[in-house]
């Protein structure tokens, strides 16, 4: 009995001691990568990794004379090789699980990025909650080298800024890798990505930059990048990006400008917005109906308006309807004419509405899409006018 028991115990001990600690990594052996950038190189890819230097991040411990993050670069034929090659420069293994942003350089985006994404979707270590962003008019490497104020980790700054601007301003889109891939494989929808541009050239690369109260070099989101067949075909400006957000029902909260009926400006806050895109095939012609329902508050009035009257509110609602409808129409027109890429998912809408017709349409959807008839209906309700009724500017005149 005792012999058997001791044999069992020694077997269990061997199990713990011999296999033990397999794949164990202490926290201070990890190079926590928060941002990764992929650029086109002569042969293969140039991968840039932004790695956190933990000691510099935590308050009270930082020496102050070293940057909070370090950027390593490596060039190789495949992305996986390049990431591993970084260990020749870095003391620590690149740990990708906490990746916040994946940045695609403009050149690579224009030439097609699909192949570069395989590693990120395959590797078990990488989570899928990071955002994919296109570096507009620059390389991913340049984006990752910009130091940001307030948020010590630039990648985190990109992540949080994208999150909050999508929530409060609308013309950006938080696209994660799996959303991007599902758009890639969808026949009736093309992907878009948020685009980030570097302002101030190389000024942002040094720590001196963030010692200024108003840094000369910084990162800025500038609209959306339109993709077609895995390749970047162009950008939407801020207004068009907002139109995209309306159509794809991404607007949570934004502010819209409207002009008063008798001159002057007016700002309306959209507090909720719901969009329904319905497809229809009439006489073999695909038709799209966009229904937008928004609720708005009056946020700023710079003209003479009697907001205490019901008719004024109704008038404002009409104005808001026209405004949103015009944003949407301009966006659709621009995409249909210039990019011919179905980023709104009109194809999917038609597929849902009329699968039989879609089977014929999808063959040359690329050519049909620019000719699709789009009808926009906006219904706005103004809920609140703020803490004052009429603007104090009006009272003085009386």
């Amino acid at each position: 009995m005792i012999r058997k028991l001791s044999a069992l115990i020694s077997v269990l001990l061997l199990l713990v001691l011999l296999t033990g600690c397999w794949s164990r990594r202490e926290l201070n052996e990890l190079g926590i990568a928060v941002g990764i950038g992929v650029d086109k190189a002569d042969k293969g890819y140039r991968v840039t990794v932004q790695i956190v230097s933990p000691g510099e991040i935590v308050s009270g411990k930082s020496s102050g004379n070293r940057t909070p993050v370090t950027v390593y670069e490596a060039t190789a034929e495949t992305i996986f090789e390049a990431i591993r090659k970084i260990t020749t420069k870095s003391s620590r293994e690149v740990y990708l699980a906490h990746l916040r942003v994946l940045i695609i350089g403009e050149q690579l985006a224009r030439e097609g990025m699909e192949k570069a994404l395989d590693h990120f979707s395959r590797d078990h270590e990488v989570r899928t909650d990071y955002f994919v962003i296109v570096a507009k008019d620059t390389t991913a490497s340049n984006v990752l080298k910009v130091l940001t104020p307030i948020e010590k980790i630039p990648a985190n700054n990109l992540y949080l800024s994208l999150n909050s601007s999508e929530k409060l301003w609308a013309p950006t889109a938080t696209i994660t890798l799996d959303e991007l891939i599902s758009d890639f494989v969808s026949e009736g929808k093309s992907p878009v990505l948020s685009a980030v541009s570097v302002i101030g050239g190389k000024a942002g690369h040094s720590q001196k930059n963030i010692e200024n109260i108003s840094p000369t070099g910084y990162l800025k989101y500038s609209g959306l990048a339109v993709l077609q067949g895995g390749k970047l075909v162009g950008y939407l400006n801020e207004k068009e990006s907002k139109g995209y957000s309306y159509i794809t029902d991404r607007v949570q909260n934004t502010v819209g400008l409207a002009s008063c009926p008798n001159g002057g400006k007016l700002a309306l806050e959209v507090i909720s917005s719901k969009t329904k895109v319905k497809g229809k095939v009439v006489n073999d012609q695909p038709q799209i109906q966009i229904e937008v329902k928004t609720e708005e508050n009056v946020g700023e009035v710079e003209c003479e308006l009697d907001l205490t009257k019901r008719e004024t509110i109704a008038e404002l609602e009409q104005l808001a309807n026209q405004k949103v409808a015009s944003i949407i129409k301009t966006t659709v027109k621009k995409v249909q004419n210039d990019y011919k890429s179905d980023i709104f998912g009109f194809g999917e809408a038609i597929h849902r509405a009329d699968p039989a017709a879609w089977r014929q349409l999808k063959e040359n959807w690329h050519e049909v899409f620019p000719k699709v008839d789009v009808i926009v209906n906006v219904h706005t309700e103004i809920r609140r006018i703020g803490t004052v009724a009429n603007s104090f500017q009006n009272e003085r005149k009386e």
């Binding site: 713990v16 164990r24 202490e26 201070n28 956190v52 933990p54």
Partner: protein
């Protein structure tokens, strides 16, 4: 054995040989007092142990010796009559009885020319007065705790339950110490089989001495090779009374304030007396805190080790970075770091408990400085590890049953080792093994994990939740199998509308 203890030799007729024999058998011990007095026409001897017997009672007795006129034949009767005035008496015929009487505080009276004696109970030794129970303190509730005297302890329970069905069975265990052990239960509520089993297990004990109820606990528990206690103990008469009312059996041992309670369930170690004295909702909340504490005390450091060395992806990014920053420059792996701190803490705790109270404070000051400040500043351990160890230590104090808290302390190290080798997977394996083991345990025939496994919905009124008293209508099903109705459902009185 028989060399040590005098045989059951009958008392001789003549007084002097009896006295000589007693002197010889007890090794002329100084504290055995033999006083020879004139008792009427005959001589008599009063024998008692100094310090155990009440001297005042004996003196009163001596003053009342009968006059010379009493017939010699009636002297024994007179002796009995006198003894009766002292309290209960017993007629004795052999030396065995003499010894057991005087050694437990009685007084033996021997008469010259008579082969029988009388033993009177004159117990009156110095004992500790009833004081606050130090191991189970409550804010609200009775502040009295058991003492070292068995009789005082039984009386304290009797005062709580004035019912003829509260039965006490006493026996002597320990071949040398002859320790009194009492079994208490409420007839009609208790499960007869459990009482029978308790008797059987107690009778099987064959040991030279019982100095504390821990001896009994170890000798009668169901499973020796288990980290979990299957016998509960209490210092509080109210807790024991509550256990009796639920149909449990209490085992009281002379010489210790700790009373054993069987059968004991896992859940018993998370219930305190105070749970029933304060409002039900608060008690429920406190119970939940105790379960959370159990979890932290058992797997706290293990989770920290497992997650930071194997599953860094589980942490929020900000937390990961701040933990990583703290680990910069720490020379040991997380496991060694945790082990170092845990062992330091256990040393401090042990030192604090065993030290005389004034020195204990000094120990704790040094300990706080060593653990809290210096170790972190010297860069030997990370600040977060100190937090983890500290919260674990405090959590382990929350578990009300001390015997359970000790087992959790022990298991913590095992789980830490597994976490260091296999990460969270190791912790899960350890917990599964623990649950399997817990479910296999029994305490006097009752499944240890009931009412969780087997699941008894009715008994959940007093587990994680503590329902109001008016809703606690039945006794735990598996403990009191015969008489489980405690009260009729009775809503509390409300003001009339």
């Amino acid at each position: 054995m028989d060399n040590n203890m005098p045989q059951a030799e009958p008392i001789k007729v003549k007084l002097q040989p009896n006295i000589d024999k007693i002197r010889k058998d007890l090794g002329n011990s100084d504290d055995i007092v033999i006083r020879e007095i004139a008792f009427g026409v005959a001589r008599a001897a009063i024998i008692y142990t100094d310090g155990l017997a009440d001297k005042k009672m004996i003196t009163d007795f001596i003053l009342e010796t009968p006059d010379q006129t009493t017939e010699r034949d009636n002297l024994l009767e007179a002796l009995k009559e006198l003894a009766q005035k002292l309290g209960d008496y017993k007629e004795i015929t052999n030396f065995q009885e003499i010894y057991s009487s005087i050694l437990s505080g009685g007084t033996v009276l021997l008469l010259d020319g008579c082969s029988r004696g009388v033993s009177a109970s004159t117990q009156g030794w110095k004992d500790r007065s009833i004081s606050e129970p130090i191991s189970q303190v409550v804010v609200r509730g009775p502040q009295e705790g058991f003492t070292e005297t068995l009789r005082t302890n039984t009386s304290m329970i009797r005062r709580k339950i004035k019912n003829p069905n509260l039965w006490v069975e006493t026996r002597q265990i320990g071949k040398v110490t002859k320790t009194d052990v009492a079994i208490m239960y409420i007839n009609g509520i208790v499960n007869g089989k459990v009482v029978k089993e308790v008797r059987k297990r107690l009778d099987k004990i064959n040991i030279d001495g019982i100095l504390e109820s821990g001896y009994i606990e170890e000798l009668i528990q169901d499973e020796t090779y288990s980290p979990f206690p299957t016998v509960n103990n209490s210092e509080r008469p109210d807790s024991v009374a509550a256990a009796l009312l639920e149909g449990r059996v209490a085992i009281l041992v002379d010489g210790t304030p700790f009373v054993l309670i069987v059968p004991t369930l896992f859940i018993s170690f998370f219930q305190t007396a105070e749970d029933y004295y304060q409002r039900a909702d608060i008690s429920t909340l406190l119970r939940m805190i105790r379960f959370i504490s159990l979890f932290i005390a058992m797997v706290g450091p293990a989770l920290y080790i497992g997650i930071t060395t194997f599953h860094q992806e589980l942490l929020p990014t900000q937390l990961l970075i701040s933990l990583a920053a703290q680990r910069e420059g720490v020379p040991f792996p997380a496991f060694i770091e945790a082990l170092l701190m845990e062992i330091t803490f256990e040393i401090l705790r042990e030192a604090g408990i065993r030290m005389p109270r004034p020195i204990g404070q000094a120990v704790s000051i040094v300990g706080t400085l060593v653990i809290g400040q210096a170790a972190v500043e010297a860069g030997i351990v990370s600040a977060s590890m100190v937090i983890v160890v500290a919260i674990t230590a405090i959590s382990s104090f929350v578990i009300t049953g001390y015997s359970m808290a000790i087992s959790v302390r022990m298991l913590r190290f095992v789980i830490m080792g597994l976490a260091a080798a296999f990460g969270v997977f190791g912790i899960v394996v350890a917990l599964i093994a623990l649950v399997m083991h817990l479910c296999s345990l029994r305490s006097f025939g009752v499944p240890y994990m009931s009412p969780f496994a087997p699941f008894i919905p009715d008994d959940h009124k007093d587990t994680i939740f503590r329902l109001p008293h008016w809703a606690m209508t039945s006794r735990p099903r598996l403990i009191s199998q015969r008489n489980i109705i405690r009260e009729q459902m009775s809503r509390p009185a409300k003001p009339q509308k």
